[in-house]
């Protein structure tokens, strides 16, 4: 039921784009162009990202992740999460599977939420751009204020979630 609904929506969307281009309906054309460029750049990024996630799944031991990012790791786990997040390209669509892979391997919920939050805040390429247009002080203040808040909020979210298991977790 939900599946057919999705397929119908997707077909309607494609029809909308086709008709827009055919009858040169301008908003539709612009949206279509954005759809292709954004979709293209995202799809270009996903194959290597998912291959790395796959390799991570088979080669990295569960104990390693549990030790460094699990419940016992404490703040050190958050440090690793922030470091890792700064290298993630493509924002949340890539950060989410990465976070889920770590979570499935035994990273604590709080560390996982820190990774997701930090991936929005301190991606290196984006930050360089920001600093060059808005100034280094702007970026420094943003980091200094947002990173501690992200770690704190991660603990809070993990506390609210309690023992609930996220749907993306995969059991092997």
């Amino acid at each position: 039921m939900k599946k057919t609904f999705c397929i119908v929506l997707a077909i309607l969307w494609c029809l909308f784009l086709c008709f827009s281009f055919f009858f040169s309906y301008q908003p539709g054309e612009i949206i279509g162009k954005h759809f292709l460029t954004f979709g293209g750049s995202l799809l270009g990024l996903l194959p290597p990202a998912f291959i790395l996630i796959g390799l991570f799944h088979v080669w990295v031991k569960q104990e390693t992740i549990m030790k460094h990012m699990g419940h016992e790791a404490g703040l050190k786990g958050h440090f690793w999460a922030i470091l890792l997040s700064s290298s993630i390209l493509g924002g949340l669509p890539v950060a989410l599977p990465v976070a889920m892979a770590l979570y499935s391997k035994g990273a604590s919920l709080a560390v996982m939420f820190t990774l997701l939050g930090a991936s929005c805040v301190c991606r290196v390429p984006m930050t360089i751009f920001e600093a060059s247009f808005l100034g280094v002080p702007f970026t420094l203040i943003r980091w200094a204020v947002s990173l501690p808040l992200i770690v704190l909020s991660s603990y809070a979210i993990a506390w609210v979630m309690g023992d609930q298991i996220l749907p993306g977790k995969d059991f092997k």
Binding site: G54, L55, L96, R142, L149
Partner: protein, 161 residues
């Protein structure tokens, strides 16, 4: 997104993959299988994410955004800019130059920060994707917390700069 970063990402995976294959064929096959399955699980929400972003890029274009948050500086304007940033999908390489231009026009630092911070932190458009992976509750709390952080950072930047 700079081309170099993408090249680096491809190089890393294309170097690691043969190494893994030489080390253990079976495991590498399992890894690729896993990669494909993970991707397939997210294919539908990813498709709708691209649709939503395309729509948002049209409705909240560069010009529309500079019209909407130009010449403002009050607290309600910070919230407004943060809401706008939450639903917009402007990529960084357009958003930051735009923010620089707005600053030149005299828009307050706090409003600019509220916009760029929430643009990066809060994902109304990525919500379907997050919901699929994190569940509705966690995705909702996470985005609300991120919204609060974006506003808090904007307030501090407004006071300090």
């Amino acid at each position: 997104m700079s081309v170099w970063n993408v090249i680096i990402l491809y190089s890393v995976s294309l170097i690691l993959l043969p190494i893994s294959f030489i080390a253990d064929r079976q495991k590498t096959r399992a890894a690729l299988n896993k990669a494909w399955k993970e991707f397939f699980k997210l294919a539908v929400p990813l498709f709708f994410l691209i649709v939503l972003v395309a729509g948002s890029l049209y409705f909240f274009s560069e010009e529309r955004i500079s019209d909407l948050i130009g010449q403002k500086s009050g607290f309600s304007d910070i919230i407004f800019a943060a809401l706008l940033g939450s639903v917009a999908a402007v990529p960084g390489f357009i958003a930051f130059p735009l923010a620089g231009v707005l600053r030149g026009l005299g828009v307050a630092w706090s409003v600019i920060a509220a916009f760029t911070n929430s643009l990066m932190l809060v994902g109304v458009l990525t919500f379907p994707l997050e919901k699929k992976v994190l569940g509705t509750k966690a995705a909702l709390i996470r985005n609300l917390a991120c919204f609060a952080i974006a506003v808090a950072v904007a307030a501090v930047i407004g006071v300090v700069l």
